[in-house]
């Protein structure tokens, strides 16, 4: 296998608050191959968005800092890249789309001009070429009558259309990697499916790699090739989608899967994971999931489990389930 497009190794991010240092993200590693869709799953506050902001080097510099590790993108370490280098990578080689397209588009600039702006900037197109390319992009993301809609303002678009415009904007300069930060959370279910289909289609046509941040395992099941599950700033399980969803190893992953609503299930309360996700100022000792884990043993309180490979590419960090599975596999 060739070198992955993106390889994050032991990435740690610290927050500075009142002179205190808090580890927001700790030793996170994952990689994305060309044409792969990776689902980054976790509850709010688990560090998935911060991780992706860090790889764009868009952390608020005063409060958050990359404290260790490396982010290798196409052979380059982005942690040490200069701001000028990053400006050529952002938009041109890594694109990003966001949860709420309504607020991520400039409200007083026409959609077409917003897209054209980065074409002129990164690809040195003339305004005329940029305009033509913009219309082509809008057509590719499925906006009807792109010629006319290019002159609309964001508020004239519906939610789904805005997300399509956002995707066109992020993909304008044909980046190799797209970071999609909960792209469908703010959309209704039918539109959600269309947007996800569009992303998969773009991957198939362009060989685009995508990091899909989500908390919806249904979305992962529909679109992703592999999954990384984050909990409290650490990766607790990652592997090929089929393996992780069919045979989850980490108790947290199992509980997450159990919490998915399903149409066939009997009416009643949805299952939930008892307890609250911990906050960075009070991370639990040992395995950070142990206070909420029904399978926790004494060891979980005192020592943090390392990621253990149980099957090809399928790794999990659990003192209880990982060794048991390893034993099963051996037997």
């Amino acid at each position: 296998m060739s070198a992955p497009l993106l390889d994050i190794r032991d990435l740690s991010i610290e927050a500075h608050k009142d002179g205190e240092r808090l580890g927001i993200v700790e030793r996170v590693s994952f990689s994305v191959a060309t044409g792969e869709i990776l689902g980054l799953v976790g509850e709010s506050g688990s560090g998935k968005t911060v991780t992706c902001r860090a790889l764009m080097r868009l952390l608020p510099t005063r409060s958050l800092r990359i404290s260790g590790g490396k982010i290798e993108f196409a052979g380059r370490n982005l942690v040490t890249a200069s701001e000028a280098e990053m400006r050529h990578i952002r938009g041109a080689r890594i694109g990003m789309i966001f949860q709420n397209p309504a607020s991520h588009l400039d409200p007083v600039m026409r959609i077409g001009r917003q897209i054209g702006e980065s074409l002129v900037l990164h690809l040195q197109m003339s305004p005329r070429e940029a305009k033509a390319q913009t219309i082509e992009l809008l057509r590719q993301v499925g906006i009807p009558d792109p010629q006319r809609r290019a002159d609309d303002f964001p508020h004239q678009f519906s939610g789904g259309m805005r997300q399509r415009a956002m995707i066109a904007l992020a993909l304008a300069c044909s980046p190799e990697l797209l970071i999609a930060d909960e792209p469908t959370t703010a959309l209704d279910v039918t539109v959600q499916a269309q947007i996800l289909r569009l992303l998969v289609e773009l991957r198939d046509k362009r060989g685009l790699s995508i990091i899909l941040i989500t908390h919806d395992l249904g979305v992962v099941a529909q679109t992703c090739d592999s999954v990384a599950v984050m909990y409290a700033g650490r990766i607790c399980e990652k592997g090929p989608k089929r393996d992780v969803l069919a045979e989850p190893l980490h108790p947290y992953t199992s509980r997450l899967i159990a919490c998915q609503p399903s149409a066939s299930a009997e009416a009643g309360l949805l299952p939930s994971i008892p307890g609250q996700p911990p906050s960075p100022s009070a991370w639990p000792s040992g395995c950070r999931f142990h206070p909420r884990c029904e399978r926790a043993i004494g060891l979980c309180r005192s020592s943090a489990p390392e990621l253990v490979t149980v099957r090809s590419n399928h790794v999990a960090a659990c003192h209880v389930t990982a060794p048991a599975r390893l034993a099963d596999e051996a037997a």
Partner: protein
């Protein structure tokens, strides 16, 4: 109507104050542009046989102590006062918005320095500072514009800085950063156009202030110089006769009130239309 061209947008209804303001200002602009054709007399022509005449058919607003037609002088004065209001706002608008946007976006020491300068300017009473600057530069309309620019920018700077502070953390700025845009581009292409609405609305009510202080400065003999027809000067010259010839001061006074009213209506209406909360 062609299929697919149906607009779902509500027809925009202009607020009543905006229409009223536009009518008044439009009227003033027409008066200013066509003053030579509308005014029945030369505004500085003295007719010593016809001094201090009350309003009549020949002189609807009467004549002043030099026998000049007050009606014609008020019409010609529209030119000077309108120009004074617009130019007097233009420079503070440009300077204030640029400094405010930079101050808010860059932050840190730059912000501190600019905001302390703003505090210093605001610490002086407005008119006193204006008069001091004009006194140093020498009387005249040019000095008035310079003084206005030096004093007036602070309101714009504060206004746009506050907007910029909010906008620089907004989602679309993050998105612009993720597209690899430089700070300068983000500031002037994305933040300023969004922040400008409040400034534009404020500038309308600022025109009122500028016209009034222009008239005040001229009244004190430091602005537009006689015999130019300007409302402030007319009021100043007429005050000696206020008990015997009320028309000399009253009509230019009413003209100032009308124009000021027009601009403040426009400010209200624009604010309503663009959704700016004052």
């Amino acid at each position: 109507m062609k299929a697919g061209s149906i607009s779902l947008a509500m027809p925009v209804r202009l607020p009543v104050p905006l229409i009223l303001g536009l009518c008044i200002i439009g009227g003033a602009v027409i008066l200013a542009l066509f003053a030579p054709f509308i005014a029945p007399y030369d505004p500085i022509l003295q007719d010593t046989t016809n001094t201090l005449k009350p309003p009549s058919r020949a002189h609807p607003f009467g004549t002043d102590n030099f026998g000049r037609d007050v009606f014609s002088r008020v019409i010609w004065g529209t030119r000077v006062d309108l120009q004074m209001g617009l130019i007097g706002v233009l420079f503070p608008f440009i300077i204030g918005n640029t400094i405010g946007a930079i101050s808010g976006y860059v932050g840190g020491i730059v912000d501190t320095i600019f905001m302390r300068i703003v505090d210093i300017v605001l610490a002086f009473p407005f008119l006193v500072l204006m008069l001091a600057i004009i006194a140093i530069l020498g009387p005249g309309i040019g000095s008035f514009y310079i003084a206005m620019a030096l004093v007036g920018w602070v309101s714009y700077a504060r206004l746009i800085r506050a907007q910029t502070l909010v906008l620089k953390h907004s989602d679309f700025v993050t998105a612009a950063r993720s597209l690899g845009f430089s700070h300068g581009r983000i500031m002037f292409r994305h933040i300023v156009p969004n922040a400008l609405v409040a400034s534009i609305v404020f500038s309308m009510s600022d025109v009122v202030l500028v016209i009034l202080s222009g008239a005040a400065v001229s009244y004190l003999g430091l602005g537009v110089q006689p015999p130019t027809a300007e409302w402030g000067i007319m009021i100043a010259e007429g005050q000696n006769f206020i008990t015997t010839a009320w028309w000399i001061t009253t009509f230019p006074g009413l003209a100032i009130v009308a124009l000021a009213f027009g601009f403040s209506m426009m400010a209200d209406g624009l604010g309503e239309l663009l959704g700016v909360r004052e």
